[in-house]
Symmetry: C2
């Protein structure tokens, strides 16, 4: 039997996954963050990423729905409230729709999720299913891409403000809020995983869960890049930007 | 094709299910509400009912985890917060534990769910599974036993105060709170079901879902009655009151 890693070695291995394969390094994000996206490409990103945003509360509620640990439920529920908001016009999903309007998309069209790439749906649904079907520990571990998100959000806010005329405090409010929300969430998630992975085998399951999650994020950008950048083959039924129609 | 019932006829049929088979009419409840339970029988009820309380947030989070409708999620989340509370020492589950201590049970023993009747587990798990697996409409419809709960809670508060020395504002706080929380929940749930059952077939699915839920509640009392009242055959591994051991 291989022995359990120390908390610090385990944490280092979790963080190494971000260095190796978090989607900040994806060519599509690099284009986004160096001002190279056309408006249509930006719209395609915002539209598809909306489907991911929309999936997040379903994933989080599914996780709570399996958690016998009341402390975990009490902590995790703020994620749902952050995304859904307490009332009409509030919450992260609403803030993402403000971004969508800012890049020139029709709000109702975005909310309908028509035009989303099938690959985006498949990836997001795989994530929700993972959280419903794997162990609670793996479900929590899969959330730990949040370890890597704040730096990406900071880079993004700076880049959007520098390169894209639609960027302002309203359209970027989603990212600003995540800078505040994510660190509290991830501190809890990380310490939960460090504490609850009781064996080397469980620690390795957590690493796999986090790699799986980086795949979920990466695959969405691959599909966007293929459809809207190079070769730019938009599948039948998916969103066609005005500059391509 | 049989035509859809009007909203008022449909609501009448939903309410008729309560009249026919809600667990306020179960012999065990009648004993409870007429002061006939021994302390051991009261303990058995509180202990087993805790397992149901514990299952409720899992059921509600599982429902939210399947709800694409953000308005439904925003409304439903208060149920989880009502039960779990915002912090240690708060919420309906905690209030049920105060009742458990009041009837002379050890808090940790109750929280561990050791000693719960297998039939209680099976019934509660069937409910959680129903909400995870059936349509969202059926899941919401199954919550509508709340239509019938306030009257039962009022009867219970009066009866407990009249017949049982442990009853006071602390031990009965669970029921007092439900009198406030349940009416808001059920108003939303009822109007959701009346609006979203679009065909006679869907309306009949809702009636079946509500009947199923009354079965979940009734079966728990059957098992309690059989184990602790008559014939009083406690299954191996289940809680044995001091007055029976």
């Amino acid at each position: 039997m291989t022995s359990r890693w120390s908390a610090s070695e385990f944490e280092e291995r979790l963080r190494a996954i971000g260095v190796e394969r978090y989607h900040d390094k994806h060519p599509f994000h690099i284009r986004l963050h160096t001002g190279l996206l056309s408006q249509g490409q930006m719209q395609a990103w915002v539209l598809n990423r909306f489907y991911y945003q929309k999936s997040i509360p379903l994933k989080d509620a599914s996780l709570i729905g399996r958690a016998d640990d009341i402390a975990l439920r009490r902590e995790w529920i703020s994620r749902i409230i952050d995304h859904d908001g307490g009332d009409v016009g509030q919450g992260g999903i609403e803030r993402w729709l403000l971004l969508a309007e800012g890049v020139g998309l029709d709000r109702a069209y975005v909310a309908s999720c028509e035009g989303v790439l099938p690959a985006t749906r498949f990836a997001c649904e795989a994530y929700v299913r993972f959280v419903r079907e794997r162990s609670l520990l793996e479900a929590v571990a899969s959330s730990l891409t949040e370890l890597f998100a704040p730096e990406l959000h900071r880079t993004r806010i700076t880049a959007l403000l520098e390169y894209y005329p639609f960027a302002n405090e309203v359209t970027l409010s989603y990212f600003r809020n995540r800078l505040v929300e994510a660190p509290a969430d991830v501190a809890f998630g990380l310490s939960y995983v460090l504490d609850h992975a009781q064996s080397r085998e469980e620690q390795e399951l957590c690493l796999r869960a986090l790699r799986f999650k980086t795949d979920v994020l990466w695959a969405q950008l691959d599909a966007l890049d293929y459809a809207y950048v190079a070769p730019g083959r938009i599948p039948v039924g998916a969103f066609v930007p005005l500059d391509r129609s």
